[in-house]
Symmetry: C2
Subunit: 159 residues, 2 copies
DNA sequence: AACTCCAATCGTAATAATTACTATTTAAGA
DNA sequence: TCTTAAATAGTAATTATTACGATTGGAGTT
């Protein structure tokens, strides 16, 4: 859970963007962003739906997906966790990267100036202009590693 | 198109892996890999299906997807192009990274020792053990940039 | 070469995430 | 308060991917 103050700051920023862009600042949109901004676990659309429903019981699937696209297009949230069957979302707008556990799909944020300021190879400049970098470190998280060890220890165990 | 020699080398490597792993080296598998290894454009499953069908007309959707998973699990190919509606594949096994055009979805390979040898931040070591790095530079490719300029030039053009 | 066996394939059906549609509701400006 | 176009709810449609059951064929053996 992120600090409430930070969450509300992000919600307020979004309301400002709505005004500027001439889109409506609805209850649903606000609650979806509030939910996402308060979470550190990069939830998927279904998870967000379930949680927001506790506060806005009639909210629909369509609204969730439409809003997530809107927020993404406005640069308020980002899509993370590549190559999976479902999209995961992130309301952390500070420049950062991700660690992804290939076992349990846990996603963690981390910061690295070195990765941010990476010089673009000439090879790439010739392909086009670079506007963003997406870095994902993949591996096994601590929890899964521990679980794996326990399971190994049980080899040959009695039934 | 990649050089034929290189393609056949990769196919031969795969046949060797099949023997070692005790899986059958079928005509379908060979042709799917041959198609992918010969391409530089990181095709999706449907594109591969269409192309392989010209040589193996009865090949099924199931076989395409099953084989792509098999090849991926064997480390012969990789899944690239994150956050899209469909998976894209790459038979280039040399260590490399990707440039992705957010406009037309073109994907290009590039090489960078610096990115390969990137030091893992301590923050991440505490989350788990890193086994791989996925880097994607995102931007607009030359072709799309030119197209955008032309379109801009037409502003106010007569009907 | 013929035989055998089980993995692999084909054709199609099922699944699951995401997007689209339409009647109804609501934010926000007059 | 009144008005209006944008947004929502509920549901249907779409699309990529996976699963299933009957049939085929790779590869080892005789």
């Amino acid at each position: 859970m992120r600090p409430k103050q930070q969450v509300e700051k992000r919600v307020a920023d979004f309301l400002e963007i709505c005004r500027r862009q001439g889109v409506k600042a609805t209850h649903q949109r606000t609650e979806i962003l509030r939910e996402l901004a308060g979470s550190e676990e990069h939830p998927d659309a279904e998870t967000i739906l379930t949680r927001v429903r506790q506060r806005v019981p009639t909210i629909s699937v369509d609204t969730i997906y439409r809003t997530l696209r809107l927020l993404e297009d406005s640069g308020v949230i980002a899509r993370v966790g590549s190559m999976r069957d479902r999209a995961r979302f992130d309301a952390n707008t500070d420049r950062h990267h991700h660690f992804v556990c290939t076992e349990c799909e846990m996603i963690g944020d981390f910061y690295s100036d070195a990765m941010d300021q990476f010089p673009v190879p000439q090879e790439v400049s010739e392909m086009g202009s670079v506007e963003g970098v997406y870095v994902e470190l993949r591996g096994i998280c601590r929890k899964c590693k521990q679980k794996a060890m326990k399971t190994e220890g049980r080899t040959g165990e009695k039934p």
